[in-house]
């Protein structure tokens, strides 16, 4: 697009006056890059924080709140909201510019106050205004902006020099007008540059004076976030099921966090949801003790030919149903051993279907079945074409599975039936609710390593034992060791499946025969497999087609030094990872979700591996009972050898899969007993109720319940009890009130006076636990609060809480929001350009930054490692993505390894972050720059102006992204902000939109950072930050931790205090756990 002449840049009102307010620049020009920058804001469908927060909240610090543009995702579509937001930002733009112009190192907008000129007191400010500024306003502005003639709705004649909070928006708007030379209009007399600067300086001071003013501390009332509410229910009831699905997501504040008290809205529909969720929770927890539970339990055993009485029907599960042979599995409903009476649930076996299938066609006509084998199927429908070896194989000992290679999942381009090797138990009935257990008996198979086509022959060995009698024979192995199996065939070669049985071990794969070495070579040896053989005689059986071309199978012992032997040794040390999935059959595949984490199967003997979950948390087919279609409502329990990065793994042997649900260890279940203890029949009902309700409310409300509260709950109980005489029902009603009361849903810090006050002990317990665990306080915290010793023991409790597994809830929540990981969840990656970024790879990459921050905190690492570390924390999937696969043998477990590559080690090298800061096709320096400025160094850039259209995608004839950026930056009004954004992003351009390092683009130029430093590329940038700017990193970490801890945007003076707070840790290099600890000791956190 072409740059427009400057003269056209001004937007005019019909009167020829430019409009004071946000609409200062023609959208055509301003929009381009700011739109890209805006993408750095929260990616969730956030409610616009600009309305709720900036308007109703006290005016926040200019250096942070007003300029942090996280809010602006919505800005482009919300002109009304951005009017204010945009004008708010002029102040900082100007402040930054001025310092730059005056030749000082451009101080970060959040630099400690010591680097700024001291603020005048309010009286001085007023005097300055009267003497110096007012005459200028009178001269240049008041004629059009006065009480009678309010051009563009603005008057300035009433400004009296006091920095009232109400005036601040106006001050900022005026500064913006001056800054961009929009006002006074061209044809009017213009102030001199010195006069402009005078007005501007004064206004800037006014803004800061206002925003540094201490506000009264009035305690706080903060709703639990969805995650906190979920954790609170979960801990209160020890409930596996997540009931919070109906709740809308919390709004993202401009700081990036979802726990900002102002934005935690409460609509009637949300409150209604709290009632519904409470009902469901109580349904799940409270049982009818007098009734034994009904439990479903079945087992599928697998193994070639193990079913002596197989189902005689031809089983078909729709098109391409791919079922195991009827004789290769047994389904049974064995008697469970439980320490309490229960009713076994027997699955339905009689069915009447009118819609069935013949191939892909629907056929109508009633059919009647009576067999468990029409209710439970052993299905392996998946994507065909396993690259090496048979994806699965039934052998007498069970079912062998190779790693399940994910399908690209693109309809029309690839089969959508799921991964290659996709075993699942398909079935018609599962319980609706409750917990379940899936138990898999599995082992690591004593496997051989399949050799790739063209693998070299083993060194000649005259006495290699060779099998030459087919199809079966015996072989004598004298020396135990690693052997290479070579298949001897007569030409002509023809591709075909070769299978070999060695004792009780089975192998099957295509034989890609070696081309004959010489034209007349009568027989060809093809290396096929490497395996470990014990000494002794072993039965062999081999099959290649009709065996007519098969002339021998040679076993050649390999020396330890050979490549094949070493590969095999690495191979046999690996373990397959067992994963269980649950969901439903789709016509075009499956919708499955993983049950827990995959487990490494290291043992060669069969062992039981247990997976647990809550049924309702998994996809269900939502079909009514007795649907007359054969395929309707089929559920699936997937069992896989999980794929990491395609390395060769020993196969996973599955012997049986067992389901039990609802799962109870005791009856009534422990969570029921916890709420309703056994009642002494002699105890009067109301006495029991009072005890039970009091205890429950105290636990739920995280503090002792007051006498008045107990009375009001008792009256709820009494009404229901009097009407129903049902103790459980009446208690349930009282519990429902507990769970929907503000004492449960809110974190309340009661403010007694406008002065700062210490938190009450119970308030402190909750504040600590919802900060460091994102969860309610546990018994220990509450008992310390009760004893009144908690505040004295904060340090010990801090250490205990950091070591507790619940700390991971905090880290997951905090670091995702701080680093903006949700952008990675929503960015639509161009599959053609980044085929390696599959769904499974994305899942693992998403975990990396969180694991990294967790490790930094637990190990108290210095803050510089945030951006520059000698190590990376990876598992096989992530290492594979970064090209480090050869150095990791950890499956899905994270391990620390040397980074080695200069682009790795620290957040910049983390693909989830860099890819999230792209558009899925191209790296975006503006997004990355704005992110780095805001989140990593806490030098937030300005809001983009309003009405900015999205950056157009590259199309035919369009300039490159860089060129478009360049054009944009050269525009007046855009350049200044982008000086604070782009230099941070340009060095990161070497990471492509998939987050991987590629060669830096040829046009890569050094970037001049706002502090004047020139850096070239990511490595120099991170060195600079790590060595020259650790103060800034520490401040940023502390700022984000503190903001999250108190759940609101910090004010200017509070941010200033953080610099002092951080400085105490400078000498130690700012260890991050120490920074975290300093938060829980700060007045900001401890006072209300």
């Amino acid at each position: 697009m072409s740059a427009r002449p400057m003269a056209n840049l001004r937007l005019r009102s019909p009167q020829g006056r430019s409009i004071l307010g946000g609409l200062l620049l023609p959208p055509i020009v301003t929009g381009l890059l700011c739109a890209a920058a805006m993408g750095e804001g929260p990616a969730r469908p956030a409610q616009s924080p600009s309305e709720g927060a900036t308007r109703s909240a006290p005016v926040a610090s200019p250096v942070d709140a007003a300029t942090d543009t996280a809010a602006t995702d919505t800005a482009a579509t919300d002109t009304a909201a951005t009017d204010t937001a945009a004008t708010d930002t002029a102040a900082t733009a100007k402040a930054g510019t001025q310092q730059a112009e005056s030749g000082k190192p451009a101080a970060a907008p959040e630099a400690p106050p010591s680097t700024r000129p001291p603020l005048p007191d309010e009286a001085t400010l007023k005097t300055q205004f009267q003497q110096q500024v007012k005459p200028l306003l009178a001269k240049y502005c008041v004629r059009c902006h006065n009480v009678d003639d309010r051009q563009s709705g603005v008057r300035v004649d009433h400004i009296d020099g006091s920095a009232d909070d109400q005036q601040i928006a106006l001050f900022k708007a005026i500064r913006r007008q001056l800054d961009q030379a929009n006002m006074p209009p061209e044809e009017e007399p213009q102030p001199t540059p010195a006069e402009r600067a005078l007005i501007d300086d004064w206004l800037g001071q006014g803004v800061r004076v206002s925003e540094s003013r201490k506000l009264p501390r009035l305690g706080s009332v903060r709703r639990l976030t969805v995650a906190q509410y979920r954790n609170t229910l979960r801990d209160l009831f020890d409930l596996e099921e997540d009931l919070t699905d109906p709740l809308p997501p919390d709004g993202v504040s401009k700081d990036g966090f979802v726990n900002n008290a102002q934005l935690l809205g409460l609509s009637p529909i949300q409150v209604e949801n709290y009632f519904e969720i409470a009902e469901r929770a109580l349904d799940a927890v409270l049982v009818d003790e007098s009734q034994p539970p009904t439990i479903q339990h079945f087992r599928m055993e697998l193994g070639r030919g193990i079913n002596a009485t197989p189902c005689p029907d031809a089983l078909i599960l729709g098109a391409n149903s791919e079922l195991l042979g009827n004789a290769d599995f047994i389904v049974s409903e064995p008697q469970l051993d439980k320490p309490f009476p229960f009713r076994p649930f027997h699955m339905q076996t009689r069915f009447d279907f009118i819609e069935g299938y013949a191939g892909n066609d629907t056929v109508r006509g009633w059919r009647h079945y009576d067999s468990l084998y029409h209710a439970v199927f052993a299905c392996v429908r998946g994507t065909p074409g396993y690259p090496h070896g048979a994806a699965y194989q039934t052998v007498p000992a069970g079912l062998l599975l190779r790693p399940a290679i994910p399908s690209p999942e693109i309809f029309g381009q690839s089969n959508t039936y799921g991964p290659m090797a996709n075993f699942k138990v398909s079935l018609r009935q599962l319980p609706d609710r409750g917990s379940f257990r899936v138990r898999v008996r599995a082992a690591r198979y004593e496997d051989g390593l399949l050799l790739p086509a063209g693998a070299p022959l083993a060194p000649p060995q005259p006495a290699a034992p060779t099998l030459s009698v087919f199809p079966a024979g015996q072989l004598s192995i004298e020396t135990a060791g690693v052997y290479q199996v070579e298949v001897v065939t007569a030409p002509p070669a023809a591709p075909g499946a070769f299978s070999l049985q060695v004792g009780e071990r089975f192998f099957q794969a295509n034989l890609l025969e070696r081309p004959p070495a010489a034209e007349r070579e009568p027989l060809v040896n093809t290396p096929w497999l490497v395996l470990r053989m014990p000494a002794g005689t072993v039965d062999l059986r081999a099959q290649l087609g009709d065996n007519s071309r098969l002339k021998g199978v040679r076993f050649v012992r390999l020396g330890e030094e050979t490549d094949a032997s070493q590969k095999f040794t690495a191979f046999e040390r690996r373990a397959p990872w067992l994963g269980v999935h649950m969901g439903l059959r789709r016509d075009c595949g499956s919708t499955l979700a993983r049950v827990g984490d995959p487990i490494a199967v290291r043992a060669g003997e069969l062992q039981e591996y247990v997976f647990r979950g809550a049924i309702a948390d998994f996809p269900a087919p939502e079909v009514e009972e007795n649907n007359v279609n054969y395929l309707a409502g089929v559920r699936e329990i997937g069992v896989r050898s999980e794929y990491t990065d395609g390395r060769d793994l020993p196969r996973l042997l599955i012997r049986s899969v067992e389901f039990e649900g609802p799962f109870y260890e005791t009856w009534p279940p422990a969570h029921h007993r916890r709420v309703l203890p056994e009642r002494d029949p002699a105890q009067p009902a109301d006495e029991y109720a009072r005890e039970v309700i009091g205890r429950f409310a105290s636990r739920a409300w995280r503090r002792p319940v007051t006498a008045a509260e107990i009375e009001s709950l008792m009256s709820v109980w009494q009404v229901t009890h009097a009407a129903s005489m049902d103790l459980r029902r009446s208690l349930r009603d009282a519990f429902l009130v507990v769970l929907t009361s503000p004492q449960f849903l809110f974190l309340i810090e009661q403010g007694v006076s406008p002065e700062e006050e210490e938190l009450e002990p119970y308030e402190l317990a909750s504040k600590l636990s919802y900060f460091l665990w994102n969860s309610p306080p546990d018994e220990r915290l509450l008992s310390l609060a009760a004893e009144g010793t908690l505040s004295a023991q904060v340090d010990q409790e801090f250490e205990r809480m950091v070591a507790d597994p619940r700390f991971e809830r905090f880290v997951g929540e905090f670091s995702s929001q701080w680093l903006g990981l949700e952008k990675f969840d929503v960015v639509s990656i161009d599959q053609q350009r980044f085929p390696a970024l599959t769904r499974d790879v994305r899942t693992e990459l998403r975990r990396e930054p969180v694991a990294w921050i967790l490790q930094m905190l637990r190990q108290n690492r210095p803050v510089r490692e945030l951006v520059r570390s000698e190590t990376v924390l990876v598992n096989e999937v992530i290492a594979g993505y970064y090209g480090l696969a050869a150095r990791v043998e950890s499956g899905f477990d994270f391990v620390s390894i040397p980074a080695e590559k200069p682009e790795l080690g620290g957040v910049f090298g983390q693909a989830a972050l860099m890819a999230g800061l792209s558009d899925g096709r191209e790296a975006n320096p503006v997004k990355r720059g704005a992110w780095l400025a805001r989140r990593i160094v806490a030098e937030p850039p300005d809001d983009p102006p309003p009405n900015v259209p999205q950056l157009p995608r590259d199309g035919p004839g369009a300039a490159t992204l860089r060129e478009r950026l360049e054009q944009h930056r050269s525009q007046r009004g855009c350049a200044k902000c982008h000086e604070g954004i782009d230099p941070w992003g340009v060095p990161l351009l070497g990471y492509d939109a998939g987050g991987r390092w590629t060669a830096p683009p040829p046009e890569a130029t050094p970037a001049r950072l706002p502090d004047g430093t020139e850096v070239r590329g990511a490595a120099e940038l991170r060195d600079h930050l790590a060595h020259a700017r650790p103060d800034q990193l520490a401040f940023s970490v502390l700022k984000h931790l503190s903001t999250y801890a108190v759940g609101r945007t910090l004010r200017y003076n509070e941010l200033s205090d953080l610099h002092t707070q951080a400085a105490r840790h400078r000498e130690q290099g700012y260890p991050v756990r120490d920074l975290l600890r300093s938060v829980v000791h700060s007045d900001l956190f401890r006072k209300k």
Partner: protein, 442 residues
């Protein structure tokens, strides 16, 4: 004083829909005397007949000849001609998610536009437009919505038996039996009404208890910033008012109506025309009595599912519905078009029935937006979805046109419909805005 709710916070994130509710209109307050604005979605599976031009039967194409106001009805839509000034054809529409997903999913997503090829973890589908209408109108009528289908139940994913998905994205089981529909709508079963009342009263009592204890807590908060508590109290007040309003319906008698034309024994197993007529008559009666303002009716099912696949056979068209939809030959495509003709006759009957009932202001048809269409243009082709919008002239629709815009989004159409119904909805599914310059006032 409670702060006004940020309207956008109200329903953020409800499975694909961003909307806000007119909650602050008092729920129990007497209705303003104006005609109710209603919505009715009618779905036919497997697309419409768009014959191969080489067969020389182009006048049997479902889409009209010529665009704009000068359009001409094709032979298969001719029965709709009397309603020319009360309907429009819409062309070029599609769901962007539709082309990415298995084509059998097109009925599942017709009213939702959900990305079923890559569902958000933990979700099944997303809310449909009929349920968004229901959410906004339920406080005015007895039934939030009426969900009908040729087959009862929900079918299953990719072969759905219902086109209606609730705010959580779960399928709503459809009714297919005229008698059961009638009993549910017009003959409240006394014992279930009593149970319902008991439920409502219990909830009112519990909400009241929470409200009371919240108020006390609020008083005790002293100097604490109480804005959020006020918000909570307001929300509780709203809920209580709504519950009370819901309970009130139980005692209000139904509008007297003539139902003598109904044949409640009509069944999908019998004559198709008779069955459809009765289902349509029930919808019209429900609208007339303002029992509900949102209806979704799946006329037949995708891919040979269910009884409706046999209807063309019963009508003497030689093949099943699914087979006809796959026809490439002239005879087959003509027969398929004749099934379209049959459907047009049924729709025309429905429109005249709606036209015959009077609202305070115009006819029921004038205050109802009827959406008729399919999730595929021809079978398994989820682009250029055949779409007809009828009624709603009093709501500002400018009818009598064949409007067409290539690759226009269905979700934008839905947003236009919702806004025309005066519902404060910001976005719907993957909408990028309203349909723009079209037949809608917004």
């Amino acid at each position: 004083m409670a702060h006004k709710l940020d309207r956008r916070t109200v329903l953020q994130g409800l499975a694909g829909v961003t909307l806000s509710l007119p909650w602050l209109e008092a729920m129990g307050a007497p209705e303003v005397r104006q005609a109710p604005a209603r919505f009715c979605a009618l779905y036919t599976a497997n697309g419409m007949s768009l014959p191969n031009p080489n067969h020389g039967i182009s006048d049997w194409s479902w889409f009209p000849k010529a665009e704009g106001e000068g359009f001409e009805f094709g032979k298969s839509t001719e029965p709709l001609a009397p309603f020319r000034s009360q309907l429009s054809f819409l062309g070029g529409l599609h769901h962007p998610s539709g082309t990415k997903a298995d084509p059998h999913l097109c009925s599942d997503m017709w009213l939702t536009g959900a990305p079923l090829h890559n569902p958000r973890p933990g979700t099944f589908n997303s809310v449909g437009i009929d349920q968004v209408v229901a959410l906004h109108t339920r406080q005015h009528c007895r039934q939030p919505s009426l969900v009908l289908s040729i087959d009862a139940g929900v079918g299953f994913l990719s072969r759905t038996g219902t086109i209606s998905y609730n705010v959580e994205g779960r399928p709503i089981p459809a009714e297919n039996n005229p008698r059961r529909v009638f009993d549910r709508l017009f003959r409240g079963d006394r014992s279930s009404l009593l149970a319902q009342r008991e439920q409502l009263q219990r909830r009112v009592r519990l909400v009241d208890a929470v409200l009371e204890s919240s108020r006390r807590l609020n008083r005790e908060l002293g100097q604490t910033d109480r804005e959020k508590m006020e918000q909570y109290l307001t929300a509780l007040d709203e809920i209580e008012a709504r519950l009370v309003a819901a309970e009130r319906w139980i005692d209000i008698p139904l509008k007297p109506q003539d139902v003598s034309h109904l044949n409640l024994d009509a069944s999908p197993e019998g004559e198709p025309a008779e069955y459809y007529r009765n289902m349509f008559d029930l919808i019209a009666l429900a609208f007339d009595a303002d029992i509900t303002r949102s209806v979704a009716f799946m006329l037949n099912r995708e891919d040979g599912m269910g009884i409706s696949d046999t209807f063309p056979l019963k009508l003497g068209l030689g093949q099943t519905h699914h087979s006809l939809s796959h026809a490439g030959d002239k005879d087959g495509q003509l027969a398929f078009a004749k099934y379209d003709l049959f459907l047009s006759q049924q729709i025309a009957g429905f429109l005249s029935r709606l036209q015959s009932y009077r609202d305070i202001d115009g006819s029921v048809l004038d205050n109802t937006i009827v959406l008729f269409g399919s999730g595929a243009s021809t079978t398994h082709n989820p682009t250029n979805l055949p779409t007809l919008v009828a009624g709603g002239n009093r709501l500002g629709l400018k009818h009598g046109r064949y409007w067409r815009q290539n690759d226009a989004r269905m979700s934008n159409l839905f947003l236009s419909i919702l806004r025309t119904l005066k519902l404060e909805v910001e976005t719907f599914g993957d909408s990028t805005g309203t349909l723009g310059d079209s037949i809608f006032p917004v």
